[in-house]
Symmetry: C2
Subunit: 250 residues, 2 copies
DNA sequence: CTTTTCCCGTTGTCCGGACATAATGACCGG
DNA sequence: CCGGTCATTATGTCCGGACAACGGGAAAAG
């Protein structure tokens, strides 16, 4: 029973990343009803050394997917349960992937649009002639008609083919990019600010003009550092708390 | 020239943590004017294996102190330069440690106080009879009289002796805890919300009542998970952007 | 002088092994 | 039934070694 999943010997993606990807997929698909395997079991199963296994697990742990305790073992992190209604944890890529759990959103395609001046001013190096592919949507909780977020998403022009295949009503758009286009996130920058609600945001979020709104601008870069997505989100200040955890590695 | 810094053989703190601490101190003190040493040099210098060195460097990299490139070497991250006036990066412990670079603050001791209901409601498990040691201060940029932040800090009662020795006008208070009391940060949780300015916050920050304010509540836990510090910060929405970076590990 | 090629140093990946330490449950004695 | 002891098991720490991939500069070619 060795090497049930051979982990393509091509060293294109390092083995520990292949392993992490495989395990991540299985965890998210509920593939470990009997609990997460031990390091030794994974070594035997995949035919790799403990180093490779631990490197993969370290990554999954950094993503918040699993938690490990010396002597006890590795367990799958609840993922739900801790994210109560108003809380949107987001401190690492893993939580980014699960972002929006328990909430609903359907995006409306905006077609090719100019980037709003807001986004351009934040990262000035996009050429003015570029038109990005835009989407817009309101995020709501089931059972509560008041929206939790007004989101605008913009994808780089080179992703136009992929954007056509996006499922506009499934969780986050960018989570699909990994599977559809093989785009891996390398870095995300976030700018968070408290601003008064503009007229459109106030109307869509059900607020009075000028009431506090939490605006989050995210820039998604791939592994080689290229910007491929920009999102601008407005949250109502009175019913949204941005909650995040910072774990000192380990 | 081996083992110039013996790294106390007591395995109380693991060797790679001792090494990381030593290197962190040297980097922050400008101890590497000729550039950061290579892994091999560090191995020889401290008499440890490359594993230990790489583990320490991995930590410093996660803290954002150093950056590494295959084939090129390890370099010290600029630390300044990137944090323009209004930006306060904070996505990991390292940036947390450098928090407030370029700004000034002097804390005023509040003595033993009850925790504000706000903080208690966020983490309900503090006993009501406990009185924490409080500090309060306004953070300003040199050359700009308008404050960037109104901060209240509360330390757990067991830290009273340490609090008496805190330098109230030096950077962040919690950064001193590591040196004074050997307290290492294990986890930080943050809650960020956009709220209308209350009367006191408006007055101190020079805002109109009700104008948007970014409120950040942080809970600092040590390595064993015990809460030892809570901070509540109000930032003026019109001139403060909370900027953070999330790097997928590596 | 410019361009290309090659070598060397550095970090990244991966292996095998060893011991330490924490958590768990079984066993045993009160 | 309760409590302590002990072996087992799992992760954490640490070592030595090996090769690959990348950068950069020196050397060689144009």
């Amino acid at each position: 029973m060795t090497e049930c999943v051979p982990l393509a010997k091509d060293r294109e993606p390092p083995r520990y990343l292949q392993l992490a990807g495989d395990l991540r997929r299985k965890v998210l698909a509920g593939g470990f009803p009997a609990g997460f395997p031990t390091e030794a079991e994974l070594c035997a199963h995949y035919g790799v050394s403990r180093f490779t296994v631990r490197e993969a697990l370290r990554r999954l742990q950094a993503e918040g997917l699993i938690s490990r305790r010396r002597g006890s073992g590795t367990s799958i992190q609840p993922a739900a349960a801790r994210g109560r209604a108003l809380h949107q944890p987001l401190s690492n890529i893993g939580e980014l992937l699960q972002y929006g759990r328990g909430s609903q959103i359907t995006y409306r395609p905006l077609g090719r649009v100019d980037l709003p001046g807001l986004a351009v001013s934040h990262l000035g190096q996009t050429r003015a002639d570029e038109q990005w592919i835009g989407f817009s949507g309101l995020r709501t909780l089931p059972g509560d008609p008041r929206p939790l977020a007004l989101t605008e998403v913009f994808f780089a022009p080179r992703l136009e083919a992929v954007c056509a295949r996006l499922d506009l009503s499934s969780g986050t758009l960018f989570a699909q990019l990994d599977e559809l286009a093989g785009i891996n996130v390398g870095k995300v920058t976030q700018d968070i600010q408290a601003i008064p609600a503009g007229s459109e945001a106030a109307r869509l979020l059900g607020l009075r003009r000028g009431s506090p709104v939490l605006r989050v601008i995210r820039c998604y870069h791939d592994l080689s550092g290229r910007l491929f997505e920009i999102s601008v989100t407005h949250h109502p200040g009175d019913r949204f708390v941005y909650s995040m955890h910072i774990d000192v590695e380990g």
